[in-house]
Symmetry: C2
Subunit: 240 residues, 2 copies
DNA sequence: GAGTGGTCTAGACCACGGT
DNA sequence: CCGTGGTCTAGACCACTCC
């Protein structure tokens, strides 16, 4: 860790904040002191503070200083899964979970008007249409409905889908996943959901829609992940 | 608008991107060209590009340049309600909606162990406990369950709750809302939800939990907003 | 008025991508 | 190898907070 000056400062400050070193005064040392302590430039110090602010640990007030945000065990968890990448597999890697994937459907189709409307893919291009059920601790908790642009992401097989498409994309195809845009909704459960998910009494699902772009700016994926209620949490940080 | 050099550059570039000026080559001009064009420093140019990247419009690749992300009408909507502040009132100010608030319950209580566990407020402090139903176009769509630290946010009345607590906090009390941490879940509907929301056939709700901090770093609010399915969307951007 | 973070300039060098 | 963005330094001045 800590390859850059900036990272060293960031890691050190974060440790101290979490250890409560600064907690009494509820303030970080002023920039000049940090510059002196770490023998670095203002740039590195400010960048480290910026990252701490992005994580919701501190807040800068012009003319006053850098304030620490109260962090209780409850609010602590916010600082964890803020912006994760990869599939749900990695998304839950921190929790120790028994995990399995069933490929329910695997097709290659041409995008028509309706599908284009839904996925934002151009009409006429070939896509892989894949449906996979994710089991956590034996529970049918998530169904992933994927559409991958077959020109940008060629050669997907059912076998790859059973393991990890993202692993295949990144390691075998060497595609860089640059940006993922996400939408979160609560939808009434549809036929597919009722068929494949253990909804119990519930008749709704969470729906996480992901649109992924490679580092050439091209959208290569549209995915809907329908998940059962009461099991998943998403976090977001808003700063003024 | 555009008070700073940085803002001028940012606004100009954003306009051009949305107008499609750069779309053919799928690239932004290189930094040096932008420095020349806007007669500014590299700092301002890079800051503008950073903001465009934060919005999901572009993506920087070291050694190659700044790539434009495909933006179709569908993915465009992602760029809207990314990080909004204020209550739901402002959250939906862009849509033209008939809007009303009913105060269902208004109490002042002392935080006990259970409530402390839930809200992360200290045991023993007084809080306002408020329940409000939000009607959009006459539909009972949202119930807000608020807890405000009565020491940090004194003097809330039912009348204020009916109008806008955030307006009162910011304009009358002059409190600066620095940071809001949010969690999103899908919960099975409870008694209060079934009583106050127009769930129709659905028996689940979305649950947006907000924890707000003032610019002294103190948590002054814990709120759960339970909302009906199929009506609300949340967005998130993840960058590598 | 003193102290603090926010903005900005003008450089330097490094790391990576493509040729 | 060259061109590009990423990191970093050493300053200057401004805007805001607090006494």
């Amino acid at each position: 860790m800590a390859k850059n000056t900036f990272e060293t400062i960031y890691e050190t400050l974060k440790q101290r904040i979490l250890a409560g070193t600064y907690s009494i005064k509820m303030r970080l040392p002023i920039e000049d002191d940090l510059i002196t302590e770490f023998d670095s430039s203002r740039y590195a110090v400010r960048k480290a503070i910026k990252q701490l602010a992005d994580e919701g640990l501190v807040y800068s007030v012009k003319g006053r200083g850098v304030v620490l945000l109260e962090h209780t065990p409850q609010t602590q968890q916010f600082n964890l899964n803020l912006g994760q990448l990869s599939g749900i597999k990695a998304m839950n890697a921190d929790r120790q979970l028994d995990y399995r994937t069933d490929v329910v459907s695997f097709k290659q189709v041409i995008v028509d008007a309706d599908l284009s409307e839904q996925t934002a893919f151009e009409i006429g291009i070939p896509v892989y249409a894949i449906q996979r059920v994710r089991l956590f601790n034996g529970q049918h908790a998530v169904i992933d409905i994927n559409y991958f642009n077959a020109q940008l992401v060629p050669g997907i097989t059912a076998e790859i889908a059973r393991k990890s498409i993202y692993h295949y994309i990144q390691n075998d195809l060497n595609i860089k996943i640059a940006v993922v845009k996400r939408m979160l909704r609560v939808d009434s459960a549809n036929k597919i959901d009722r068929e494949h998910l253990e909804l119990g009494e519930n008749n709704c699902v969470g729906n996480m829609i992901s649109i992924a772009f490679n580092d050439a700016g091209r959208q290569f994926e549209y995915t809907e992940s329908h998940f059962i209620p009461n099991e998943f949490v998403f976090t977001q940080l808003i700063r003024n």
